[in-house]
């Protein structure tokens, strides 16, 4: 039972709702999301067990980012059932927020503030007390030396590393990564691997345009074309050819 559910007075014993070892980290049944009259996501159904990695592939505008933002409780589903970390969305957004780490194209950091100040703000928003965790992460992404300079003076790669530290500051149970390796040079990629890579042991959803690369890390692969599920299979059964066919 996570701390928040206990505090919220959830006494229903044995409820799968927030049992610690919940089976499926993500459960989608017939998920739909519209953009005005057009469909952004139509009838997406999948189940991702805790600790596994889902790779989401597909041409631009297929709804990959929409799916990611929806899982991050930033977008409301228009239809279907969405359960993240055992909590149905959007009814129990509160229980899921703070347990999700979103790393997207935007670092979600203030350029005028330094890395430490940004992490302090993010920590306060998430109820993370003390600076032990943020110092640890700054060291992990090798940014502790330039942690007090405003971010606007840092390079895009460095900001992305601080963004990785932000994503992990509140120790999320689920990582949502939108092309995490963009803007990262090989050395930096190596550095963040234990944090957001397979080695981190967290449940992950990765949106990527590099089928071969992501195939190695994924347990489950979802192919989206114009918002519809074009392909949903275990990574083992797929090869790069099937994936490139997706982009034709």
């Amino acid at each position: 039972m996570c701390a928040r559910c206990r505090r919220a007075g959830r006494r229903r014993a044995g409820a799968s709702r927030c049992g610690v070892a919940i089976l499926a980290a993500i459960e989608l049944r017939g998920l739909t999301r519209r953009y005005g009259e057009r469909v952004a996501l139509a009838d997406v159904t999948l189940s991702l067990a805790t600790g596994q990695t889902l790779a989401v592939l597909g041409p631009n505008g297929a709804g990959k980012t929409t799916l990611l933002r929806l899982l991050a409780t930033l977008l409301r589903p228009h239809g279907g059932v969405v359960e993240v970390l055992g909590h149905p969305l959007p009814k129990e957004n509160w229980a899921v927020r703070g347990r999700i780490g979103l790393l997207g194209h935007e670092p979600l950091l203030y350029r005028e503030l330094s890395a430490r100040e940004n992490l302090a703000l993010h920590g306060a928003l998430h109820g993370v007390t003390g600076t032990r965790r943020s110092e640890e992460l700054l060291a992990a992404v090798a940014m502790e030396r330039r942690a007090d300079e405003p971010l606007r003076t840092l390079s895009r790669g460095m900001v992305q590393r601080v963004a990785v530290a932000r994503t992990l500051l509140h120790d999320p149970a689920l990582l949502l990564l939108d092309e995490p390796r963009a803007n990262l040079d090989p050395a930096a990629s190596e550095l963040v691997e234990p944090l957001i890579g397979r080695a981190s042991g967290r449940t992950r959803v990765i949106v990527s345009h590099d089928p071969a690369g992501v195939l190695a890390e994924a347990d489950l692969v979802l192919g989206l074309v114009r918002g519809r599920v074009a392909l949903l299979a275990g990574a083992a059964e797929l090869d790069a050819a099937a994936l490139t066919e997706l982009y034709r």
């Binding site: 928040r4 610690v20 409301r76 509160w94 503030l113 928003l125 998430h126 999320p172 042991g201």
Partner: protein, 235 residues
Amino acid sequence: MSAPGAAVAPRTHVVLAALLRKELRVELRSFEAVPAMSLFSVTTFVLFHFALSRNTLSGDLASGVLWVTLLFAAMLGINRLFVADAEQGGFDGFLLSPADRSALLYAKALTLLAYLVVLELVAVPAFALLLLGPALWPALPGLLVVLALGDLGVVVIGTLVGALAVRTSVRDLLGPMISLPLLVPVLLCAARASSPVLAATRAGPLPLRWLVTLALYDLVFGLITFAVFDFLLED
């Protein structure tokens, strides 16, 4: 492999303090809003001097000029209020956290109030120096009361309209276009309330009728803003 325990949901005042610290730092380092507002107000007084070709003002005219200037200077603050959050992903960063949504409303309202107070620290003395006929000192206590209530009105409407207009394509136009009509009652009550205080002969008493109306207006729109603000964030 148990799911890592979630951090307990943060208490609102902790979040509020963090947001205010951020606002203070961002403003002190980028100096976007406050200097512009203060300079704008002094320049506007000079414009009024030439436009009305009057060396000193008092009574209705003085309070009118003062309040119109403060209102337009406030427009600059309202336009800048949410820009940093909209452009640098501040909204998403905040929405991802379990923090209470209205903490952002309180933080932004207090920030706008701080903008206005600093603005008035510059504008009111400048006004007294440049245009005000009667002495400022006897009028100051009454004027401060009206300024306080007027600022509340501007803060309530400004925060709501600032959030409404910031993520649109014509934000600098839409902000003032929507907030000015909504602020007319605030301007009306504030100007009527402060005109006897700035009277030429002796600083007269504050008209209670306008103060009460202004306070009620602030209260009603404060409740409305509180009720609808969250809908501006959720997607």
